[in-house]
């Protein structure tokens, strides 16, 4: 039954987004930290249960399903939102903070949603918030990428919507529970596709390396943490044990590292590694034993922390040097030593080096896969581990911080604000603490296992060191070959763009034809009619209506002015307006319905 003892973590972020536009001065930056702190407090004190059931359109929407699985995800979301806000405190553009807040609120909403309709609502809120985090980078490149991102997520969202509506028609409920792998109906598959778009499952992944490198410096830090991991959460909730996910996840893990191997842009390398790392989680969910599910959750937790830190590090490069392209960087260690150190903590974490948190989460998933006798899958995940260390652990830092360029190489560096360092240090501290004390993380894992996984054994440590150090040797041998080049590598988005162009042509041709015919018809008949009508109106007007009409004419003109101002041709503004209108409609229906 609903009780009032749970403060939904999304509320603070929504409130922040609402009041931020009206706050003067610059001291509001301290306010950014309040919603994350409330969220952390709320999650560490809440008791499992079902809270906040809201009647809407004759349905019972459940906004607060609090159980072990939702708590562990919400916990890391809350911590990451604090880190992200600290990292973004220096940003003066309120729009970015509002977009980030709405986006984070959407993430929390999905995690605590007890029914598919609520999931969908917050799913779309996330999609809008993150689109603006791309737009607000305010370059032509990022605006275009933002549109592609939004279009793609809208299509993904429509799959989810179609699936949940068809499911409602068939079963009469929006319940969001585990679908048994053998009982999947066509509508479950539609929902699964919707989720897989956000989880960046290959070949639906290309939006991610397209958009994330073009987001704002601080926005990408939020984005890399929430979208894919919310998708991991809903997959773990609804589709655990689906064989297709086990295979798809392993393919993702390998595919991501292969592309990262040849990429040049630091943030795109990291983006491909999101695809790869989320692959571990998706594979763990697909295999579906308690150990691999726990491995997936643990890896999601660790991943959010170290991937956030990686994006913060690459963000520092972009902020300070003005580019994140490796062929333009090099020899920065002397000038940004702390960025290098903090980046390396994350790089060693993602590689699964002992002492760091990737070691305790990644090995759990791989061992789980092997113990479930999924040898091929486990082997694929080991291959991905080698590639991860080569590109994120060595290639990126080598060409950015060490490299061949002379150290007196003149590149103007913008000083990095202290708050960015603080955000990174928080994340780095947690990465190391979890690596050293695995119980910090394992304590919250939701699924019961007979025998708990112990990462710190002599063999696990030696295995990790052997694997990583000899991948390092491979890099040393081929360091000339792997030197990054300023190239664009074709990916599946080539096909997305073909589809886009095809649809455009399909729509344009008939419409252009109709428009042509209409113009002709209008010229022949319409104009004459209009002239006649005008003559009649003049007569009517002259006969004394003038006085009455003048007033309304002014009104019409003024409304027209506002209308013209709104219709400025900038699609970003239309999108924001549509989102606000949708919220208003939603509120009105809820209030009167």
């Amino acid at each position: 039954m609903a009780t009032s003892s749970f403060i939904h973590p999304a509320l603070g972020f929504l409130a922040l987004a609402l009041i931020l536009p009206f706050l003067p001065g610059r001291q509001w930056k301290w306010l950014l930290l309040l919603p994350p702190i409330i969220a952390i407090w709320s999650i560490f004190t809440v008791e499992p249960g079902v809270y906040g059931t809201i009647p809407y359109l004759g349905q019972q929407l459940i906004w607060g399903r609090v159980d072990k699985l939702s708590i562990v995800f919400a916990q890391v979301f809350a911590i990451m939102s604090l880190i992200g806000m600290v990292y973004a405190m220096h940003v003066e553009d309120k729009g970015q903070h509002i977009a980030a807040s709405l986006y984070v609120a959407g993430g929390f909403g999905c995690v605590f949603a007890g029914d598919l309709l609520t999931v969908f609502l917050f799913w779309e809120l996330m999609s809008i918030g993150s689109t603006f985090l791309v737009f607000l980078n305010r370059t032509r490149e990022s605006v275009l990428a933002g549109f592609r991102y939004f279009l793609y997520h809208t299509v993904g969202g429509l799959f989810l919507l179609a699936g949940l509506l068809l499911r409602y028609k068939a079963t009469g409920s929006f319940a969001f529970d585990l679908v048994a792998p053998t009982a999947g109906q066509y509508y479950d598959w539609l929902i699964l596709i919707g989720f897989c778009v956000n989880a960046a499952v290959v070949p639906l992944h290309a939006w991610l390396p397209d958009a994330y490198p073009r987001g704002t410096v601080t926005g990408s830090v939020f984005m890399c943490a929430f979208t894919t991991k919310t998708a991991v959460y809903v997959l773990a909730r609804g589709f655990a044990g689906w064989e297709v996910l086990a295979v798809a996840g392993t393919c993702m893990a390998v595919y991501g590292v292969l592309y990262a191997c040849i990429e040049n842009n630091a943030r795109r390398i990291l983006s491909y590694h999101i695809v790869s790392q989320v692959g571990y989680m998706v594979a763990g969910i697909g295999i579906g034993t308690a150990m691999t599910l726990n491995g997936a959750v643990a890896h999601a937790y660790a991943h959010i922390l170290y991937k956030g830190l990686l994006f913060m590090g690459a963000g520092c490069l972009l902020y300070s040097a003005g580019t994140a392209k490796l062929d333009k960087l090099g020899g920065l260690v002397a000038r940004l030593p702390w960025v290098m150190i903090l980046y390396m903590v994350a790089a060693l974490s993602i590689s699964g080096m002992p002492i760091f948190n990737g070691f305790i989460s990644k090995t759990m998933t791989i061992t789980g896969a092997a113990e479930a006798h999924r040898t091929i899958l486990a082997l694929g995940l080991e291959i991905a581990a080698v590639g991860t260390f080569i590109s994120v652990g060595i290639k990126l830092p080598y060409f950015a911080f060490w490299g061949r360029k002379p150290t007196n190489w003149e590149i103007k560096l913008k000083p990095i604000p202290a708050n960015m360092y603080v955000g990174m240090a928080l994340a780095a501290g947690l990465c190391i603490a979890q690596g050293l004390y695995p119980q910090m993380l394992y304590h919250y894992l939701p699924f019961h296992v007979e025998e708990q996984y112990v990462p710190w054994t002599a063999w696990h440590v030696l295995q990790a060191l052997l694997l990583l150090s000899f991948s390092g040797l491979a890099f040393y041998v081929l360091r000339e070959v792997i030197t990054p080049h300023a190239k664009l590598n074709l990916d599946f988005d080539y096909f997305y763009r073909l589809i886009g162009k095809g649809v455009l042509r399909l729509v344009c041709k008939p419409i252009a034809w109709i428009d042509d015919r209409w113009t002709e018809a209008y010229r022949a008949g319409g104009l004459r009619g209009l002239l006649l009508l005008a003559a009649g109106t003049v007569w009517f007007d002259k006969k004394g209506i003038d006085t009455v009409v003048d007033g309304s004419a002014y009104t019409v003109r003024n409304v027209g002015r506002v209308g013209a101002k709104v219709q400025n041709g900038s699609l970003q503004d239309y999108l924001a307006l549509a989102a606000v209108l949708a919220l208003c409609v939603f509120g009105l229906v809820w209030y009167f319905g």
Binding site: R140, E382, A458, L462, L466, F470, L473, A474, Y476, N489
Partner: protein
């Protein structure tokens, strides 16, 4: 350049020493593998010492060579191929 940056500069200058230390570490790790090995081999070959060393080295070499020398020449285009930069 602050003190820490200067320190890294000095370490960087002695890269030959670091390389030799790295090689020694590699040898020590393989040596340790003869003493410490898994009790539950999952892949068959991993019951032999040195398996994961060879695995890391060979997979790493093959991955980089195949991707950089064969795949990238096929899929690489100019940076503004899509005309959106």
């Amino acid at each position: 350049m602050n003190g820490l940056g200067a320190l890294f500069e000095r370490l960087k200058a002695q890269y030959k020493v670091w390389r030799n230390i790295f090689f020694v570490i590699l040898a020590v790790l393989v040596g340790l593998n003869f003493v410490i090995n898994t009790h539950e081999p999952h892949f068959g070959l991993d019951k032999y010492p040195g398996f994961f060393a060879g695995f890391g080295l060979i997979i790493g070499l093959v991955m980089v060579l195949v991707m950089k020398k064969i795949v990238q020449p096929l899929i690489a285009r100019k940076e503004d191929f899509y005309g959106d930069i």
